[in-house]
Amino acid sequence: MLEMKNIKKVYRTDTIQTHALEDFSLLVESGEFVSVMGPSGSGKTTFLNVAGLLDTFDSGTYILDGKDVSKLSDSEMSRIRNRAIGFVFQSFNLIPDLNVFDNVDVPLRYRGLGAADRKQRIERALDLVGLSSRAKHLPSQLSGGQQQRVAVARVLAGDPKLILADEPTGNLDSLMAREIMDLLDRINASGTTIVMVTHSPECAVRAQRQIHVLDGRVVDLETPRISLARNEVSAGMASTLG
C-alpha cells in the first residue's frame, strides 16, 4: 500500500537547514495497522505529511497504492488525498462553522459526488460512528470524543484505502481514547490500511506493528503480523463495522 525508499526531506530557512527525514524507508502492506512512534522532532509529522501528500520531499521514491507519487502536480496530489487517503487529526480539524453533516460532506463535495450519493454516504458514516442524531449539531456542541468520531465519519464517508491518523487520541481522555482506538480497530478489521502516529504506548500496541523514528530515520521495524489482500480493503468495511 505504501512504500517509501530513501526519502529525504530538508526544511530550509535563510540560515538553517533542518534534515527532517534522512533516508527514510518504510513498507506498509495493504490492510496493515502500523503505529509510528518517536520523540518530538524525530520526523513523525514530516513522515505523515509526506505519506499523506500534504508536503513534498526532496529525494527518494514513494509508491502509494502501486503508483509512483514522487512527482505529482498539486492538483493530482489533491485528487489522491481526496479519494485514496483519509486523515484523522489530533485536534479533529472540523470546520467550526459547519454542522456535523456538512463537516462530513466537505471531502465528498470536493470529489464532485451527487447530492443523493453524498447524503447516503454521510448518513451511513454517521450511523457507523453512532452520531446520526447529532447531524445538525455544531462541533462546539459536541464533546472531544464525539468530535473525533465526526472526523472518523468524515474519513469513512470517503471510503479511502489508507487512513493516516496523527495522534488521534492526543486530545482525548482515556475513555474516549479507547473508544476511538476501538473504532480504528474495527475499520482496520474491515481491510483499510491505517498508519497512526502516536506518543501513546497504549495506543501504539493496539497496532499490528510499531515502528520507531529517530532523527528522521526508521530505527526499528517489526515484521508485519497480518497482511490482508488488497481487494479486501474497502469492500467489507461497512458490514464489519455495522
Binding site: D105, V106, R154
Partner: protein, 400 residues
C-alpha cells in the same frame, strides 16, 4: 461551488458580514446618486442659452448724484447711455434691461395665460433698446420690440411681450402664439405676445430656466441702470475698455462696473465644477473604502481560517477550490449588499428628487453601478483569496 454550506457557515459570522453588506449597500446608493448628480451637472453645462454669449458684455451704473431722483432725468441719462454705447466702435447692439445671461437667477413672477387653466411661473424681465440684437437671439415667430412699445407715461403698463418658445409650447402647444394674451394672476395688465424667441435658457432655481417673458418696460430707476452690449467678434476687449469712459462722458454722477457674459458663465459653472469635483472625490473615497473593507474582511477571514484552509486542502480541495470558496463567499456578500443597495439607491434618489431639484435615477446607471461594485468586490477579494489558496495542506497537521 456549494453555496448552501458557505451560507450556513456565514450565518455564524453575521455581524462581520452584515457590516460589509451595509457598507456595499450604502456605497452603491451614494455612488450611483453622486454619478447621477454629476451627469445632471454635465448635462446642464452642455446647455446653450440661445444667445451670442461670447460677444456679450454688461455694464452697470449706480448713481450717487442727487439729480437721479427725477424720473425724466434718469430717462434722459439712460437714453444718452444707449446712444453713446451704440456709437462705440465694435458695438453691434445695446439694450437697457434687468436680464443678465448665466447669472444663475434673475427675476420671476406668477402669471396666467389665455386658454391655459393653471397659473404658471416664468422669468420676467423688462428691456429697452435692441434686446434681440444685444443678445444675438433669433425669433421663431413675430417681431422684436419697437420704441413705440414702451409707453411714454412711465406709470402706464406695457401692452406687449416676447416669450420663449418653450413657454409658448407649455401654454399653447406647437401653435403660433402671436396675439395670445398673458395677464397677472388676477387677470390684470394683459400683454399680447408679439414675438417668440427661438431658443432661451437661463439657469433658475425652480426649473423655469426655459421659460421667460420679456416686456418693453423701463428696467431702470433711481437705483441704477444695467446694460447688455453685444460686440463684433473679437472686439469684446476694446469695447469693454471704452465702456466706462463712454458712460462717464454721458453722466459722471455714477459708479460703473463692466464685465463679460463669458466671465458670468464661468462663475456660474464654477459651482457645477465644484459639485462635480466633490462628488467625484466622494465616489473615489467610498469605492476605495469599500474595496479596503472587503480586502480587510477577507484578509481577516483568511488569517483566522488558515488551519481550516489547510484542513480543506488536506481533505482534497485544490488551490482552485479554495480560491472559488472565498470568491463565492464574497459574491454572496456583495450580491446581498448590492440588492439592498439598489433599494437604498432609489430611496435616496426619491428623497433627493423630492427635496432638491435632482434628476430621477436612470435604471442603466444602477446597472452600471452594480456591475462595477461587483468587479470592485472581486478585485478586492482576489489578493487574500490567492493567499488562502497558497496555504499548504501540511498546516492541517500542525497543532496550534
Amino acid at each position: 461551488m456549494p453555496i448552501g454550506p458557505i451560507v450556513r457557515a456565514m450565518k455564524h459570522n453575521r455581524t462581520r458580514f452584515a457590516l460589509i453588506i451595509f457598507e456595499i449597500a450604502i456605497t452603491l446608493a451614494i455612488v450611483t446618486n453622486a454619478v447621477n448628480m454629476i451627469l445632471a451637472q454635465r448635462e446642464q453645462m452642455k446647455k446653450t442659452s440661445g444667445f451670442d454669449d461670447d460677444n456679450i458684455l454688461w455694464a452697470s451704473a449706480v448713481p450717487f448724484a442727487p439729480e437721479f431722483k427725477e424720473q425724466s432725468y434718469i430717462e434722459n441719462v439712460v437714453m444718452g447711455d444707449l446712444r453713446a454705447i451704440r456709437a462705440i466702435p465694435g458695438v453691434k447692439a445695446v439694450a437697457a434691461t434687468g436680464f443678465l445671461p448665466w447669472q444663475g437667477g434673475g427675476s420671476s413672477g406668477t402669471m396666467k395665460a389665455e386658454g391655459y387653466p393653471d397659473k404658471f411661473q416664468a422669468q420676467t424681465y423688462g428691456a429697452r433698446g435692441d434686446l434681440l440684437g444685444a443678445l444675438g437671439a433669433k425669433l421663431k415667430y413675430g417681431r422684436a420690440f419697437t420704441e413705440n412699445d414702451t409707453p411714454v407715461d412711465p406709470n402706464e403698463s406695457t401692452k406687449v411681450c416676447i416669450i420663449s418658445s418653450k413657454l409658448s409650447e407649455k401654454l399653447w402647444g406647437k401653435a403660433n402664439p402671436i396675439g395670445r394674451v398673458i395677464t397677472s394672476t388676477e387677470g390684470q395688465t394683459p400683454r399680447t405676445v408679439v414675438g417668440v424667441l427661438d431658443e432661451f435658457y437661463n439657469p433658475y432655481s425652480w426649473n423655469i430656466g426655459d421659460y421667460v417673458r420679456f416686456t418693453p418696460g423701463r428696467a431702470y430707476d433711481g437705483t441704477g441702470s444695467f446694460y447688455l452690449i453685444r460686440s463684433e467678434p473679437g472686439a469684446s476687449k476694446s469695447v469693454a475698455d471704452a465702456l466706462e469712459k463712454t458712460l462717464v462722458k454721458v453722466n459722471a454722477g455714477r459708479v460703473f462696473r463692466v464685465g463679460t457674459v463669458p466671465q458670468v458663465k464661468e462663475r456660474y459653472f464654477s459651482g457645477n465644477t465644484l459639485v462635480i469635483r466633490a462628488m467625484t472625490a466622494v465616489i473615489v473615497v467610498l469605492v476605495f473604502i469599500t474595496a479596503l473593507g472587503i480586502l480587510g474582511i477577507t484578509s481577516l477571514a483568511v488569517a483566522e481560517r488558515t488551519k481550516q484552509i489547510g484542513t480543506r486542502r488536506a481533505l482534497g480541495a485544490t488551490k482552485g477550490d479554495i480560491l472559488k470558496h472565498f470568491l463565492t463567499e464574497n459574491w454572496i456578500v456583495t450580491s446581498i449588499g448590492l440588492f439592498l443597495g439598489i433599494i437604498a439607491t432609489y430611496a435616496l434618489n426619491f428623497f433627493l428628487v423630492s427635496q432638491l431639484t435632482d434628476t430621477k435615477m436612470p435604471w442603466y446607471l444602477v446597472g452600471v453601478g452594480v456591475v462595477l461594485l461587483w468587479l470592485n468586490g472581486l478585485v478586492a477579494t482576489i489578493p487574500p483569496a490567492l493567499r488562502a489558496a497558497s496555504v499548504s495542506p501540511a498546516i492541517a497537521t500542525r497543532t496550534v
